[in-house]
Every structure is written in C-alpha cells, then in structure tokens.
Amino acid sequence: MTSYIGKPVRRKEDRRMIQGLATYVDDIELSDLCHVAILRSPHAHARITSIDRSAALAHAGVIDVVSGEDTKHIGTVPVASAVPPDKRTPRTPVLAEHKVRFVGEPVAAVVATTKEAARDALELVAVDYDVLPAASSPEAALRPGAPILHEGVDTNLAFEWKLEGGELTWKEASERAERVLEQRMENQRLAPIPMEPRGVIARFDPGRGEITLWTSTQIPHLVRTFVAIQLGIPETKLRVIAPDVGGGFGSKLNVYREEGLLCFLAQRTRKPVKWIERRTENFQATIHGRGQVGNVKVAFTAEGKILGIHYDVLADLGAYHQLLTPAMPAITGLMLSGSYAIPHITIRVKGVFTNRMSTDAYRGAGRPEATFIVERIADMVAAELEMDPVELRRANFPRAFPYKTATGLTYDSGDYVKALDKALQVSDYRGLRRAQEEARDKGRLFGIGLSSYVEICALGPSGAMPTGGFGWESATVKVHPTGSVTVMSGASPHGQGQETSFAQIAADMLGLDIEDVQVKHGDTGTMQYGVGTFGSRATAVGGTALYQALEQVIAKAKRLAAHLLGAPVAGVRFENGKFSANGRVLTFGEVAFAAHGAAKLPPGDTPGLEATSFFEPSNFTFPFGSHVCVVEVDAETGEVEILRYFAVDDCGKVINPLLVDGQVHGGIAQGLGQALFERVVYDDEGQLLTGTLMDYALPKAHQLPRFTTERTETPSPVNPLGVKGVGEAGTIGSTPALVNAVVDALAPLGVKHVDMPLTPERVWNAIEEAKRARGGVS
C-alpha cells in the first residue's frame, strides 16, 4: 500500500518559500511593535565601572534602556548537560553584571519605536570599562597566572572528564603494539551561520498575564520550559512559536539571553518588542562549534590492527556554558571507536573557560571531531605501514552487529564493508590510483582520500542523553470529520522538510492523498509537548511517534468500521484508505465522519478520531558510510582543487530520496567548509577577527564540485520504520575525506599531517617545510 514512502515527493513547504510567502520571525508585524537593539561588549574581558543611559533615553523614539542592574532578578541562561556531573556552572546573566567576558556579550538594551532609533541610541549609551587581560585561548587560559574569568576559584578549568574502556588497558594495548604514533590534532572553532540570523519577538498580554514569544529556534518547547524558569512564571503563561526557521545547524538548539530579555522588555514596556540579530552579532554571540585541540596516540600491530586510541584534549568552552556546551567533548569521546573494532579507548578532557563566545552543538556536534581523529589515524597508520588505506579499514571493521564499542555504545546494525565496496566501485578507486601514479610521474600532486564514518543519531534513549533526558518525541494525529488529517509533530524542523516526509508517512498508512495531510509544528500554544529537531533524530524518533499515533488512529477506526459493517474487528481489512468486510466497503472519510457524528459507536468507544503518542527509543541509531574525495594540489600556490567527490551513505530506510540527497549535499558542503575554508579567529587580546562574511569564508557554489551520491540500505532494528537519520552524515564524513586526500597528494613530499582549514598558505607552508626537512632546495 506504499505509494509515497521511498519516493522523491516534491516538498509541500516549497510553494510558500519560492513565492516569498514564508514567514520568518523578521516577517512578523504586530501593531505598536517596538524594536530592540543590544549594546555589546567591545572587550574580551573587562569590569564595567559605570553605565550612563541618560543621553540614549533622551533620543527621539527611545522608550526604554536597560542594563544588568535591571535584569539581575532574571534567572541564569540554562545549561542542560548532565555530563560531566561535577562541572563548574557559573551564572549566565541575560545582560552583563559588573563584568564582561567575551566580545559581543550583551551589556544594555534599547527599546525604541523604530529599529533606526534603537540602533542610533545604542551609540549614546556610555559605558566605562576597566579593561582586563584576556584568556584568549584554552592553552593561555590554563597557564599559571592566567586571567581568571569567573571569580571564586583560582582556575579557568571548568571540568575534567575521562572515559576509558575496552577489553585491553592502554598499557596493554601499547605494549602489544608494533608501534605507537602520536599527533597533535585540532578541530578548529567554526561558526554555524544559518542564512537567517536569530530573531525574537515578545508580546505581553497584561490582561491575561501571558507572554507570546516568537523565536527562530529548533526547540520551541524546551525554550518555553527554560525561559519560564528563568522568568519565574508558570509555563501556562508562556507560549513559544517557532515560525519558518531559516536554518539552524545546531546554533538554534539553544536557549539564548535575548529570549528571556525580550520577554522581560515586553512585560516592562507593555509593548510588543522585536530583536533581529545582525550578522556581526551572529558571529559574536551565537554559539560556535568544535574548538578542540588535543594530542592523540594510536597503538597498532604490524598487520595494521588498531589496538588502542588515547586522546588528551582541551575543549575551548568559551566564557559561559550554553545549553549543551560541556556535553560536546563527551560525544566525541563516545564516538572515538569510529567504524572500527578497537580494543582500547581513552579520552581525557579538560574543559576550559576562555574569553570567547561559547562553543556548543554545531552540525555533527562532537562526532565530526571524533571522526576526523579516527579517520586521520586510519590513514596515518596505513601510511606508516605502507598499506593501502582501504585494506587498513577492512582489517579493522567490526563484522557482527549489534557491535559493542570500547566506549560502551552498541552499534545497532551495519555493513561497513558493503558501503566501502560500493564507494570503491562508484569512484573507480583502482582507476583513480592508476591516474594518481601517472600524475605523480609527471610531478603533479594528486590525492585520493577515504573516510569510513559511523555516527550516532536518533538522539536518543532519554536515560542515555547527554542532556540527562528529553530523548523522546511526540506526535498527534487529528482526523477531521471530512477525513482530512492534521499531524502535529514535536520535532519542529528548520529546513529538513518534515511537512512533506511526515505527510508521506501519514498518507501511506491511512491510504490518503498527500494533499489531505497537513503537518504542523512549532507552536507550544496549540500542540502537545515535544523536543525538537537536532541530532538527526526527527524521522527516527519523531517519525516513529507519528507511526505509533497513526496505528492508534487506525485501530480505533477499525473498531468503528467493524461495528458499522457488522463484522468482527479481525475480519475488517484496511487497505488503500478503505475498510472492507462482508463484501461491503467504507472509506476512511466515511468512518471519520461516523466517528465524529457518534450516532453509532461500538460499545465503550468514545467519539472523535485522534491520537497522541510519545516514543521513547530503546537505543540510538548508527548510520554509516564511505566517502571518497579526489584532489589536486597546486605546488606553486598551495591551492587545493576538489576534482571529484563520491559519497555512499547508509541511513537505513529512506522515506524521501530527494530530501536525503539534499541533506547529504548540504552536509558535505559544510564538512568541506571546515576542511578548506572556515575558522573563527580571535586574536591574543580576545578580539574577534572574523566578524563578517568577508572575513569568515563560507563555501560558495564555484568552490565545490558536483557530488556523486549513492546509498546502501541497512534498516535499523531500533524503530519500526527502519530509519537511522541523515542530517549530519555528510558533515561528519566529508571533513576527513578531504584532509586525507590532501595529505595523500602531499605524501611523496613527506608531508604527514596539515591542520585545518587547509588554506593555500597552510598547504604551501607544509610543502615548503617538507622540502626543507628533506634537505632539498625548491
């Protein structure tokens, strides 16, 4: 009866978006709407000695100016990370109190009748700072005598965390090993940069005492819960709406200062207020990702069997914890086995406060860091043993599933050999190696890079979540009397296309035309509680909640149909939207109408036809795949050209191949962005040097190749749909594939590793250094 699942159904949400009719936060107009501009710290670290707002208050159009003194009663911006349990958690105020700790920290807010007046008045708020030295990097922050960000303790160390496991100890692994290699590896800070910056509108209804908060978020329900706690109001008095959201990539999986602040300003001024983040504010004060620098050791046998990984890492947390900041390195630790059976793994993390914006979940969130390390290790070991990197990977893949890793995870299902073989076949790997030999004979720097990743998705069993809960998802199915259906999903999307993919699931199971199904999300005032879209979880967890709700609806409809047809329930067939028994047929619409008319119900059944279901997964899912990247490096300039890119991904069962391709393409582009272009840079004084799109390089169309995407399909046993998740796969797989390709290209020169991003300058320097080390003259 499947007619939509598995097909490239065109998206239902497109129509409004291609006509300019979508509604993002900034598109919402309310009568009497006032505008908020936020004054931010120009210093990385300073004491605020005075704030004079009189000139700003006198400016035409200005209604109010507030600072930390006015907002100190508002609760801290929340941290929802259960790991590590004994971390230091300083208060994160909505506006700075006495001290600023990063460039861009909010200091004061102006409310005015126009956005121009609000922005103009910002310049009239006079703040005196006593500038302090900055702890501008994690290394600097741990040095003796470093400036201390948060008073009370004599260190910038927020936590130490260790994960150690496997059938061998590190001592045993390194003693049994033929060799142990060591390499410093860096996962540089990145900026997520959704094309829509953040935006918030708050409206206070003084009669009802209710606040409505529109915010560009991935997690409207969690925002409601946490902001209500911050403001000390019941959740019943706060409605959060995520309208169309213009991308998130994890950066909107958070609760930000501006959300609580705008609610407060709406209450205080009795006006609806709007704040739209400017791009520079987005660079300064929306979370960054990655930010790990560490030392990795790998122990391996002469046959290329990896026996152990030992990773010591500094996590650059930034000045404060945001929602999941401390959890990121823990996810890296859990995933350090990659797609290999490794008998020992240790990760030792030092989480360090620095005078920078917080790091948190950016597409991949801990897994790209782990995958980069493991996949670089695979290539380094292969190079050391003069093995083909393909053979090294094969020698280390687990073959039986479920597979339990040294870090304590259980990989649900997989066939890593199959995905790798397909990638080799699609890319004509042997042909590529022959082409490489010919190119090398001519002195060209031609490289082939592999990456065989596994990732952790469908976050996740609530008890195993780094948040300490909220791993489930919800769905409501409401059948209307005429038979059309509204689906309400707790997994509020921001570009993934659930309005279509969830409608495919509902239309197939109910035997309806997809036009008769409407998917709603993102409004806490009209729907059941939900969690959100992140961690490649929406289809595997939210889709399964929907599947369960649909089953309940079908069961009830079947009971009614049996009653109306005078047959036992077991004798009723439901196929293609029709109930049949005793040679008679009722359409789904007829049964829906009868359920609402309720004139002839089965004994004990209730009127209406709707169901709400909450799904708690029993395990994570583990999508996997193999990517092949082909590059040529210009030896004169250090420039990297990506010649070809092949991706074979296995995300389990596919609901919509078109949407899966879109996710993979976008993910690869972001991963290549990390490998080649992107890096958030702070100088030694903690000044942000990459504060505009001129300084921070997002991949552009002409810098990327055409991606060839293929799939294998290994269903997940964790959910009835068999889906695994695909939102982050491309980002996780592509970064090491490219770096491995470039190092492979430079291997004849003796280059063994290059730090990201692989800018022409860095690659050129690596080439020159290698030449010098070999005593050659260029």
């Binding site: 291609i18 078109l658 972001q670 991606f707």
Partner: protein, 169 residues
C-alpha cells in the same frame, strides 16, 4: 525625500529618509517580505531583487538611488496574478517551478534572492554550462543545499527543460 519607482509593475511614490536601504523600503514600507536580510553587507545575497532587469543586492542600495527604476521582487516574478485565485495557487515562474522540482531549497531563507539571481543567469541560455552557473551563483550564499540542486535548477531552465517532467508530484 520623495522617491518614485515601479515595484512589480505598480507605480509607487513614498516619502522616505535618505538613508533608507532599498531592502527596508521593500520590507518595511511596502510590506514585501520576500527579500530577506542576511548580512547587510552585500555578501550573502538573500536580499537580491531585479532592478531594471539586473540582479542587485537591495541591502546596499538606498531607496532614493532607485528613483525611476523598475524593481521586481520574488512576489512579482510569477506571471500576473489571476484575480480571485489564492496566491499559493497562482502560476509559477519557470525558475520557481524548477527550484521545487529539483529540490533546490531547504530552509528557504536564501531562496528568493537565489531565484532572482538564477533568473538573470538562466537568460544566458544554452551556452550556460555548470561552471558558468556556479560562478554566476558565487554572490549568493546557501548553507543548506551544497548548491548542487540549485545548479541543476538553473541549468534546467537555461537549457529549456520542462520543470513539469518526472517525479511524483
């Protein structure tokens, strides 16, 4: 200052502050919310509109600079709206249809600007190749799609393929 221009075929005269950017004139004065603000520095292209037929970034032009100009926004791209038909059921411009057909959008925020740049680009017709399409899109950033499906949409229109072909719905 007084500014008179044509927006989507309609003559518009308004009194505006000299510093008002075209994008805010469109969004805040005329209520045309399809042009999006992604950077205000001419780098992302989300605010792209057609000014006298050329794709321009409306965040770095003043409204008063456009006095006498003909501006087309995403709302005015499709053939003239049919009276009495809801906007969401109106006929689409071939590039809009191609974006849907090729799945050239995800979050949709860059899409209006991307489509208007694509319209100008596709006018090059059959001589436009993939490299040319990618170069032509370099001024418009998309963080979701990796550009491949956008390139496919541009080329399909430039090469005269029918957007209606293929695919369920």
């Amino acid at each position: 200052m007084k500014v008179t221009l044509s927006v989507n075929g309609r003559a518009v005269t308004r009194e505006v502050e000299p510093r008002l950017l075209l994008v805010y004139f469109l969004r805040d004065v005329l209520g045309l919310k399809g042009a999006h603000v992604g950077c205000e520095t001419s780098l992302c292209g989300a605010c792209t509109v057609l000014v006298d037929g050329k794709a321009m970034k409306s965040c770095t032009r003043l409204a008063v600079q456009c006095d006498g100009a003909e501006v087309t926004t995403i709302e005015g791209l499709a053939p003239a709206a049919v009276a009495g038909v809801a906007l969401e059921s109106q006929e689409l411009h071939p590039m809009q249809a191609a974006f849907r057909e090729k799945h050239a959008l995800q979050c949709g925020f860059c899409t209006p600007g991307m489509i208007l740049t694509a319209v100008e680009l596709a006018a090059r017709g059959k001589e436009l190749d993939e490299a040319g399409a990618r170069e032509g899109l370099a001024g418009n950033l998309c963080r979701c799609t990796g550009y491949q499906h956008i390139v496919d949409a541009v080329l399909s229109v430039a090469h005269g393929e029918s957007a209606a072909a293929g695919g369920a719905r």
